[in-house]
Assembly symmetry: C2
Homo-oligomer: 669 residues x 2
Amino acid sequence: MTDDDREEEGCVFEIALVVPKWGENRGDEREGAHCVDILVDELRQKGFIVERDVGLQNEFIKLAASDDVIGRAAAALQFRKPTCIGMDLPFEWEEATAFIRLPDGSLFSWCERFRCYNHIIYGIVNTRESAVVLRSDSKEEHWKPGESLLRKLEAMGIVKEVFPLHDEKKRKQLLRSWAMNWADVTQQPIDDICAYYGMKIATYFTFLGMYTRWLLFPASLGLAVQLVDFGSLQFAVLPFFFMSLISWVVLFFQFWKRKNAAVSARLQIFNSASSESEYRSMKTEPSLSRFPSEHMRKQNSDRIKEKANFQREEWFSWLLRVRNDVFVILSIIFLQLPFELAYAHLYEVLGADVLKFGLTAVYLLVIQYFTRTGGKIAVKLIKYEKFDTAENKTNSLVYKVFGVYFMQSYIGVFYHALLHRNITTLRQVLIQRLVMSEVIENLLENSIPYLSYSFRKYRAVRNKVKRDKGSSTGKSRTFTRVEKEYLKPAYNASIGQEIEDGLFDDFLELVLQFGMIMMFACAFPLAFAFAAMNNITEIRADALKLLAMMRRPIPRAEETLGAWLNIFQFLIVMSICTNSALLVCMYDHEGNWNLSPGLAAILVMEHALLFIKFGFSRIVPEEPAWVKAARMKNASQAEQVCTRQLLKSLSGDEKWFEEARFQESKKDA
Amino acid sequence: MTDDDREEEGCVFEIALVVPKWGENRGDEREGAHCVDILVDELRQKGFIVERDVGLQNEFIKLAASDDVIGRAAAALQFRKPTCIGMDLPFEWEEATAFIRLPDGSLFSWCERFRCYNHIIYGIVNTRESAVVLRSDSKEEHWKPGESLLRKLEAMGIVKEVFPLHDEKKRKQLLRSWAMNWADVTQQPIDDICAYYGMKIATYFTFLGMYTRWLLFPASLGLAVQLVDFGSLQFAVLPFFFMSLISWVVLFFQFWKRKNAAVSARLQIFNSASSESEYRSMKTEPSLSRFPSEHMRKQNSDRIKEKANFQREEWFSWLLRVRNDVFVILSIIFLQLPFELAYAHLYEVLGADVLKFGLTAVYLLVIQYFTRTGGKIAVKLIKYEKFDTAENKTNSLVYKVFGVYFMQSYIGVFYHALLHRNITTLRQVLIQRLVMSEVIENLLENSIPYLSYSFRKYRAVRNKVKRDKGSSTGKSRTFTRVEKEYLKPAYNASIGQEIEDGLFDDFLELVLQFGMIMMFACAFPLAFAFAAMNNITEIRADALKLLAMMRRPIPRAEETLGAWLNIFQFLIVMSICTNSALLVCMYDHEGNWNLSPGLAAILVMEHALLFIKFGFSRIVPEEPAWVKAARMKNASQAEQVCTRQLLKSLSGDEKWFEEARFQESKKDA
């Protein structure tokens, strides 16, 4: 195959555009070129290596680019990249030697390349004086001067999709070293993952690996608690388990934060495009730095006005956010909670297993619908809020959706644990939920993509056969690699695809599992062993899913767990409270530990206050927005002004270094 | 007086050196100049305006400096100051016009001037080839080449002290606008305070003012709770008071953080010398930036070694810190706690009032000794610890000493509240402690400096009279202003003078008051009104103390409350727990809210775990030291390299601006 041959020579196609396959009316005599031909010409003019690949149903335009093309785009985007002196500077193609290369010798990481590709292909505009006629099979449209070609074609329905392509060589290497490497189950080639998938996915797998390794401690402790008889000390076993568990989890998250910081610092070189967005948003405000005298005159009145503006905006967005949060919380409490409680109660009350089965089926259908609606409402709500960064936006979404899932997953268990005080049923429910949900979810997670892939393949072949019958040409029915990838499902979140990617579901699964095993730890210590086993398979299953069953995801740059970390912390606090309550239930066999309403009320109040104390500090931001903006402006202006000169002196004339070195040696002598 | 005349002309003496007054052997015939004359000559050579002022007991060398002298020192110290383009750059005297001036038109704040004075006067070294003979009344010593003159003279006992002088004009202005301004009691001229005393004292008074203003809410609420009869709702009054109190305090500290950030940003111009110390500590490590090629070769092996080093050091210092903390906590629990409990118990048991009085006298004597010893041990302990910054060092001291004071102040009250469950006695104890301690402390705080000043004045006159009897010359016995200031006490902390200044005592008073009113709020809601009244007088009393009864303190740059803020937070959590316990005591008249050992144990465990959860996160630092160091190095290197060029283009040639403006206008047209 020429395809593979070319790739061996180092030309890797990284992006594909999907356009419809044209029938026989390709070479008709109408005036003007076909719009796909125009697109390909424009792409070639931008310096891309373009290959057109006709599949069974669609035509694929595959793009590859040399460092030269990417470099100029990176300079236009002003990526901040590390230089050999250790500081980050905006990239310039002329001074490329000053910038540090990646371990594999290339100048740009996948994340950066992807952004450059996007910048170039969406930056194709009509530079001629007059409009160009874009002709497709059915219609003709005018490409006006200054209009983006790709957006126009997307609007016309010609370009169906733009998606990143797998790099076959690296993918196979990762399959060997990661997904199929069963030697050490928690060890993963994080650097390679980061290079291939970007920082966000690497962070997820780093966390998953560390979490699984650390989980072995409570798993073995839980096994010991469950299986060993401690004789006369038996009564102290559960409290001891509880204490060590909480210490373990607190230490784990503390060390996770350290590891996260360390890994981010190590992998920073793959992730330098991330700081750029912040930098650009700063640049859009009018640059005051060039007219210091004028600037100083205006400064005082400006500053006061600016401050007032910032404060008004800050409080307005705060109010909006509070309103939305209150809305979400109230609707969860008054709509979802009764529903979940009703289900739990009905399930308990119903006698026949058939009825139970039917009820669960109805319930599952309804919550599917409920969750999807909740997600949509959450997405709609946060669209009206104003956020400084995209990260805050996703975080806000994550919190809201997690609220829905939290109720859904735990209310039934709470019902058994706290209202019925029935430890045996609780244990059964836990086993059911844990084992069933883990097994089923893992199965679904891996089979659904495969099934959908197979179905799309089958449909494509069927359509092809139908059409071939009409034209009766004897073409082969094999798929090219790019078409196979096109048929694979994208790595999308089950809710709010425009904001989050598939990691949302993976994190949600992890968090719900964590909550389940932590909050009811004292009732079922064995759960940790289940979770550890499950996570070990989860690592490989997720790796396989990403490598073999999904399209290559769009690289994202987030370096931390973000909102999920706060959710973990919240679950820890929750688990302290629920386990305490569980212990009271379990040790108070005779019910003589009197909780008369007075004491109980004070305890509830105390906990509510503790919650306020530690929750409130998140509601009001600690730093006024205008102070923060001033700080950011400061920092970005500082480097904006002086980097070009500095860069020249760094990479340009070696003379300067020679001189400096000479003087240094003279001083030493 | 010529003294005041000169000051009117704008020459303000800001620093005084104290040297002994010489008798008649001044003009003796020994070879070489007198050492004080040498010092004065050297100071004049450095560009100072020097005035010698002979007092009753000592001679004072007063120094003033022009902007020129200060500016050169500031450039040598590489102060980072804001420029007209909005970013901070190291100061250079040649480009002084590029830097923003203070509101009063001067180029340097008092904090910066003070550091420059110190830099210059301690930087006087012998630049000659041979040693110079320093002759004093009693002995002769050799001033070797390269040795600091001032350190030598301090070691010889000639220069007794170097202290900053009040600026009479500004002091009188502040007295009018601040200490004697009774119009709005919580409004203070923070900007002027910051300009005159430095950032740390301004922060203290900002906090005190805001705290007092906010305190009016719980004060009025407390009054209402105490005085109004709510009829059938009476039973819900205290819980409601408790809830609103906690919400109030949480909101207060959240808004305090915002105000602190805003005030720091506004007053940054007075405080630009603060960032300089961090910058300098970074500069001491070998700069790798000048040899990029060599640097890159070494980089990999270096980085691994460096990282390992950082980690070893980090863990070692962590262990040391934990050991010290454990030592302090254990000694407080096993030495101080029994002692305090014994006192509280004995006081309760003793019948006769005389015995009680005697016991209290003994107790007060012993705790004086105990506190001083504790402070000394704490200072000694933290000397062996390694801290990144001076701020962490003071924080560590503050935590340790606060532990001692916490036990001392509250154990007696806890004893009454929790063990005896006697609300009436508790209330009496609270009133006693609050009123007595506040009144007595305010009196002592203000009278002791005055008494010691008067005593030193009296002694000086008596000595003078004695000596005058011998020589029988008829000199006047009035004091010059500088001698009066010398006789005033310095603004020192009661413990660890080398680490903290007098603000330690003021903050300690504030924190202990806060703890007292918050932790026992439900037992005595009236306390807030007491505290509000006390704080209103405290503001003026502290202002008067600083302006009239103390030497001018050494300016400090800390912008936040530092450790005290965490102590406030700790007291809030404590107060949630103690108030809950108090409510249980107060509402459980019949003792039928059964707290059998099981439930009580679980509650205690739960609270301990919550404490661990929120306390642990402070024990392990979130960011590894090496990551932090790399980040800091990055930031400082960035600006180090390019600032000089940037500055030239800013202040030097206006041509560049003209051109830029021309091009801009062309673009607009």
